[in-house]
Symmetry: C2
Subunit: 510 residues, 2 copies
């Protein structure tokens, strides 16, 4: 245990009801008995110490004794929770040096290639909340422009090792992942029951929406509980061969969660960081065979085939280095998949496909069968090339639906019943013609404005897809919401731009 | 005036006693009547609007109605002050897009060269507090690795135009600047009275210490008031030909103040950003002839002559582009200048030199005369090559001291009397020998630990310099402090490492 520097008083901790997100923040009195305020001009950082427990935090100052007195240390909620000591604990507070691994970030900024131990130290400091937001941004930007293949491998490995590492008793553990961006693309919820019904192990973890109207975890939560512990997840997989759990709850890649929190507001989205993020989670999840879905389209994350090829090669390169079999498929990312956008509306699509309802969206069904077929081919006992037929058989026979019901029952009931939003309006075609394009980004924003994913029943139900003929005044889609203010905003947004481009029929005069 | 989006309620502003530094921060209830909390997962940013007044801010959430109720907008002090509206104002709060100029930062990250209008937009957003800390870090890091000469010019110009621009009635306005890093290097306080006594205009603005134990503004503040308004500064210069004011108070380069706030914690210090920072301030200050002091030494900012040459060329290049005559001198940066480190101890050195006291530090006197000589040569009426003789004459005759007294009287009295720290200890040589090296960084840290610059009388008084012979037990320097805890810490630090390297006498056995 380190000694407290002589002459430094300790402060008594006190919770401050402030949610400061991923950053550890403490509030200190400008007249604090323990701190020299000259050390804290503007934002600065301190090290907190109690026994062997240490933590770095950013300092805010106050003159309000009611908030934090001179002998107190105000801890914002995340800092208090992470420090894990009761209120009233005496905590030594000293000016914090920046984390030593920041030297490696500075070297990278100057053009140096980083070694694996340096990257390991950065990830270790990240997951222990030793980096401020501006330091995280410096790391991300320093490697956004250029990252060697060695750095990519080292980053992936360090991130995979930083959190929970799941291991399974079967030789083959299949997994799928889509890089995202396409509304309604809930194939996992169909692929998992098909593959599990066949008998392959597929312990799927998914994310919640960050900037989209629904993540697979949000949509699955309409049907079942998704915040499973590692133990609960293992039990579900033991009994059902698969699960559909929220990855955030099992802490698969805490470094990734922290990096994403800065990547999103900065809208940084480089291929290398995407590959490190996805592959680290899959390695931590214990997958042996991974199928990657890369949608390509004018509003998708990938807009050209050459971008998709470069990304595919990065995934394969990293997979090869870690002995993870990676298969990459390029899919149609021009428009939403299925009809629903938003958790409850998407869950309806999924259950309609599993139940073989005649009105079930065909594109969601076909894409899911295609992806499931790729995964089934990893079964050595399946005759080569029969994956698609086997997947169709499992879906059409009702085996996939029964498997999904079994998974839902094993995961436990959904935290609350999800009705579809009761405030509705149909957005209609302004002219006769054919749907030529659908702006996925705009539909995502519209569904979010209507309340998704927090209001699970809010969102959009599509009636028309690309290539469909429409007449003037015919509904293109319906907006669903609960909250009047959100509904009004979404309606106004749709009136401004419906996100649909309708062109005169082919052959007709322009 | 922009309309408030339909359905968005407004919040009543309330001051929250929190100092959040340069970042605008607001606190919103998790049950706010006006905000959808799903828009604010983790840290996020909002736009505040009241009439035509708008401002971006980072959001913290709270559940504590006593702090901020559901219909209130808690504004941390800096955000409240900058918004400039009374508490209780109704303010519309909407999710904020990131500032448009951030697209240029993203392009720069991807390797694009920025155009002058893009850089102008970035600087404009910076000085209007539209960038979060992580966005500022992204900008700095994106241009830390590589900046074209065109980008450097554009950044310098945009920064120079973003704040106060001083203009003077004389054709020649001389100025000097040191890039810093050397303790005790207070030549400006001797150069300004010499040059002003000669009759040249030298309206000197200086900075306060950020990471050092004293800036020229801190040391001058021992003798006189330094937080002069633009009008007061002009009056002092009109009557005395020169002044020694704090640049921060006249807002000469607000963009630089904001960038430095992020550069320092990240310890980013690239030559291009240093040149843009210094030259923008000198252009804004209306200087026509600038002398730059580049100390070179093992612990200085520049460690080799080739680094100094590259930096000199950058200064000259930018000077030429803006018609500012730049002269660059390389100086000895191996050890502190003078004997005092810390505002009051340094002020003693300065006044001893000006008063021609026999014990005045010779190195400070010689360096100041040399720098003053360079500036005096800009007087067309002075015979070429006689600058040094003229500077010596002004110093030895007492004209410089009289000019300094006049400047001090014109600027007004110091805010408080500064005594020298009364807790003292002598740090002594542990062996016989010769002082071979002095670690400037360590002495800076030691003086800061003792309490400088906040305790103006705290710091270090040096007895020995490089080349001096010492005997075991002979004092190397004295530490001065007021506060026992700071004193204890500084003593402990000096005992660990005195910052002096003493080697056996030349010729003696090792």
């Amino acid at each position: 245990m380190n000694a407290i520097p002589p002459g430094r008083a300790q402060l008594r901790s006190r919770r401050v009801n402030l949610d400061t997100g991923r950053e550890n923040v403490v509030v200190i009195s400008r007249r604090s008995t323990a701190l020299r305020p000259d050390l804290f001009r503007g934002f600065s950082r301190v090290e907190l110490r109690s026994g062997s427990k240490t933590q770095l935090a950013t300092v805010l100052l106050t003159d309000d004794d009611g908030l934090v007195g001179p002998d107190q240390l105000g801890m914002a909620e995340p800092a208090f929770r992470r420090f894990g000591q009761p209120a009233g604990t005496y905590i030594a507070v000293t000016p914090a040096p920046s984390p030593p691994s920041l030297d490696a970030v500075r070297a990278k900024i100057q053009g140096k290639t980083l070694e694996a131990p340096e990257i390991g130290a950065i990830v270790d400091d990240l997951v222990h909340y030793r980096y401020s937001d501006m330091e995280i941004a410096a790391f991300l930007v320093s490697s956004a422009n250029f990252m060697t293949s060695g750095e990519l491998i080292a980053l992936t490995e360090a991130m995979a090792r930083a959190g929970t590492q799941l291991r399974w008793n079967t030789k083959t553990v299949v997994d799928k992942h889509c890089i995202g961006g396409i509304p309604g693309n809930r194939t996992s919820m169909i692929v998992v029951p098909i593959v599990a019904a066949h008998g392959l192990t597929i312990p799927k973890t998914s994310s919640r929406a960050i900037t989209s109207p629904a993540g697979t975890a949000d949509t699955m939560e309409v049907l079942a509980r998704v915040d499973l512990s590692v133990e609960a997840m293992k039990e579900v997989v033991a009994s059902c061969n698969g699960c559909l759990a929220w990855g955030g709850h099992v802490n698969l890649s805490p470094a990734d969660d922290i990096l994403i929190g800065v990547e999103r507001p900065l809208a940084l989205d480089t291929h290398e960081q995407m590959v490190a993020s996805i592959m680290s989670k899959k390695l931590a999840a214990g997958s042996t065979h991974l199928l990657i879905d890369l949608p390509v389209g004018p509003n998708a994350k990938l807009t050209t085939a050459s971008q998709a090829m470069r990304l595919r090669k990065l995934f394969q390169f990293v997979g090869d280095r870690f002995g993870l079999v990676v298969e990459v498929v390029t899919t149609d990312g021009r428009q939403p998949i299925g009809r629903g956008i938003g958790p409850a509306l998407e869950a309806q699509d999924v259950m309609a496909v599993l139940a073989n309802e005649p009105q079930a969206p065909r594109d969601l069904r076909e894409k899911s069968l295609r992806l499931a077929a790729h995964l089934l081919e990893h079964d050595p006992d399946l005759r080569g090339g029969t994956g698609y037929a086997r997947a169709s058989e499992l879906l059409e026979s009702g085996a996939a639906l029964r498997q999904m019901v079994k998974i839902i029952e094993a995961q436990g009931p959904a935290p609350s019943a999800s009705k579809i939003g009761t405030l509705t309006i149909d957005v209609c075609a302004e002219r006769d013609g054919v749907v030529a394009a659908i702006d996925c980004l705009r539909l995502n924003r519209l569904a979010r404005t209507a309340g998704a994913p927090l209001d699970k029943g809010a969102g959009i139900k599509l009636y028309k897809k690309i290539g469909d003929r429409v007449e003037q005044g015919e509904p293109l889609y319906r907006i669903h919401a609960f909250e009047p203010s959100a509904f009004d905003l979404a309606v106004g947004m749709a009136q401004l731009d419906s996100a649909y481009r309708i062109e005169p029929q082919a052959g007709a005069a322009p």
